[in-house]
Subunit: 281 residues, 2 copies
C-alpha cells in the first residue's frame, strides 16, 4: 500500500463494521432475488440491449433502503438506479444481479456484487450467488474468505505451460461496442489473441469468474469494458487473497460512463496476460 | 426416425425400464462422488495430460458393478476402464466425471454422463451434477425431463441477431491436439470463426453445456474432437426435447479412439453453425 493511500487512516474495526454491514446487505439482496424466483419475474430489454428484470430492481431497491438506514451520509452507485451522494467519502456500489441474461435463462452462475470504496479505494467486497448458495467476501486488512475459510492464492509454478494455465475470459460479445457514431467497434482481435496465448479458457459471463479467480480455481480472469459495479468487489477480493489486480484500460464508452478493462488473479499470470494485452490497448 | 432405425423394434416399456435403471446408476455415481468429496480424493495426470481422480475411478467402478448385476449381457464403455462385451446390442456408456479439471479445482459444473445405445442408436441419456443437485434425463420416445418437468425446445426467432444468439463453445484448448507425429495440430481458426460468427458465447468446459443446450438455456452447443462417452447422453437429450443433433466430423485421434465433433441445440441455430463450420472440417 502506498504511503498516501487513504486507507492508511482506517482502523480494522471500521473495516469489520463495514464488512458486517455488507454481509447483511448481501442477505437482503439474496432474499429479494429468491422471492422473485419463487413468485416469478418480468424481463425487459434495456436501451443498450442488455436485460433487466423485476428481480434486479427489487434487490437494488432493498439494498438502497438498507444502506440509507445504516449509513445515511454514504453515497450509492448502482446499475439500475444511478448515483446518490457522489461526493461522499464512503461509496457503496452494487450490481444487484450480475449476469441477468443467465438469471433469466435459468443458469445459476449469476450473482450480486457489493463493493464499498473509501475515498476511491476499495475496502469491502462481497459476491453472493443465491442459486449456488455461495458467497465470498473480503475487507481491507481482514483477508478474503470463502465458506468460512481464509483464501490465500499460491502463485503459478514457474514456466507452467500455456495450455495448462487456466484463464477466465469475457464472452467475445464483450469486445463489441457501439462506437461514438453508432458504428460497431469490434475488438475481437483481443479476444482471439488472449485465447491463442491462454487456450485453456473458460467463459462464465458473470461474476462467478471473480469467485474462481479469488479462490484460485482459475489462474486469472479478464474483464473488458465493464462498468464500475461489475468490478466493485474484485480488487479487494483478489488483493486480500494475495493476488494481483491490474487496470489495463479505462475509457469513456459511447453510451455514457466509463469502461474498465482489467485482469486479476495469480500475480505471475496477471503479469503474463498484461504483457500480451497492454500493447493492444 | 428412418424406416431401418433399429429403435423401431423397441417398446416404450423397454425404454422405461432402461431409463429407470440409468437413473439408479446415476444415484450410484453421485453417491460414490459425494463420498470422495467428503473423504478427500487423489488427483493424477494421465498420459494425455488430462486429470483423473480417485473419485472418477470409484464412480465408474460402482457403475460397472451395478450394470453387470442388472444387465449381465450388456456391453460397457467407460472413460477410465475401457470396453467390455463390445459386440452386445445394448451398450452402456459412462464418463463418471466429465470436467475432472473443474472437479479438482472446486468448480461445481462437473457431472456424470450416462448413455445407453441399442444397436448403435442412443436410447437413454442422463446428466447428473452432484454439486448443483441437478439432473436431466431422456429416453427414446419418452421425452426429456429437467427437475420433473418435460422440456420442449422452441426454435430461434427468425433472423435473430448473431450477437444475441447464445452459443456454448469448447475451450480453445480443445482445438489443440497431438498430431500423428507428435507435433501439435492447431485448429484454433475454427474456434475463432465460431466465436466471430456467434460472439455471445460461453465456455463451461463440462457437460453442463449439454444441460444448457437441452434445456434451451443456450441456443446450441458445439463440442470438438470429444470421445464417445463425452457425448453419450447429448443426442437423445436434444432430440427428445425437439432439438437437432449433427455430427460435423468423426475421425481417429493420434492417441487412439475416435474424436467426435458435434453441434446440437435449437434446429435453426444448429443449421447456422453447421453452415459456418462444415466447410472448415
Amino acid at each position: 500500500m502506498l504511503p498516501d493511500d487513504p486507507r492508511n487512516d482506517l482502523k480494522p474495526a471500521d473495516c469489520q463494521l463495514w464488512l458486517d454491514a455488507a454481509l447483511r446487505f448481501a442477505n437482503t439482496c439474496r432474499a429479494a432475488i429468491n422471492a422473485k424466483v419463487s413468485s416469478g419475474f418480468d424481463v425487459e430489454v434495456k436501451p443498450d440491449n442488455s436485460l433487466v428484470t423485476s428481480a434486479d430492481r427489487a434487490a437494488e431497491k432493498r439494498f438502497r433502503e438498507a444502506v440509507k438506514a445504516k449509513f445515511p451520509d454514504a453515497g450509492i452507485i448502482g446499475e439500475e438506479f444511478g448515483a446518490e451522494s457522489p461526493d461522499a467519502d464512503l461509496q457503496w456500489v452494487i450490481d444487484p444481479i450480475d449476469g441477468t441474461s443467465e438469471f433469466a435463462a435459468g443458469i445459476p452462475l449469476y450473482g450480486s456484487i457489493i463493493g464499498l470504496f473509501y475515498k476511491g479505494m476499495p475496502v469491502v467486497g462481497v459476491l453472493d450467488h443465491p442459486s449456488l448458495d455461495l458467497r465470498i467476501h473480503a475487507a481491507h486488512g481482514l483477508g478474503t474468505w470463502l465458506r468460512g475459510e481464509r483464501v490465500r492464492l499460491a502463485d503459478l509454478p514457474p514456466g507452467l505451460d500455456k495450455t495448462v494455465a487456466r484463464l477466465s475470459m469475457p464472452s467475445r460479445v464483450s469486445f463489441l461496442k457501439a462506437g461514438e457514431d453508432g458504428a460497431r467497434e469490434d475488438e475481437g482481435h483481443i479476444f482471439e489473441r488472449l485465447s491463442a496465448e491462454f487456450p485453456n479458457c473458460r467463459t462464465f459471463h458473470t461474476c462467478y469468474a471473480h469467485v474462481c479467480a479469488a479462490a484460485g480455481q482459475v489462474d486469472a480472469a479478464v474483464e473488458w469494458d465493464t462498468r464500475l459495479w461489475d468490478v466493485a468487489a474484485a480488487q479487494v477480493l483478489i488483493e486480500e487473497a494475495g493476488g494481483a489486480y491490474r487496470l489495463l484500460r479505462k475509457r469513456p464508452l459511447a453510451d455514457g460512463g466509463d469502461g474498465y478493462s482489467v485482469v486479476f488473479g495469480k500475480p505471475s499470470m496477471v503479469e503474463r496476460i498484461a504483457r500480451v494485452i497492454e500493447p493492444l490497448c
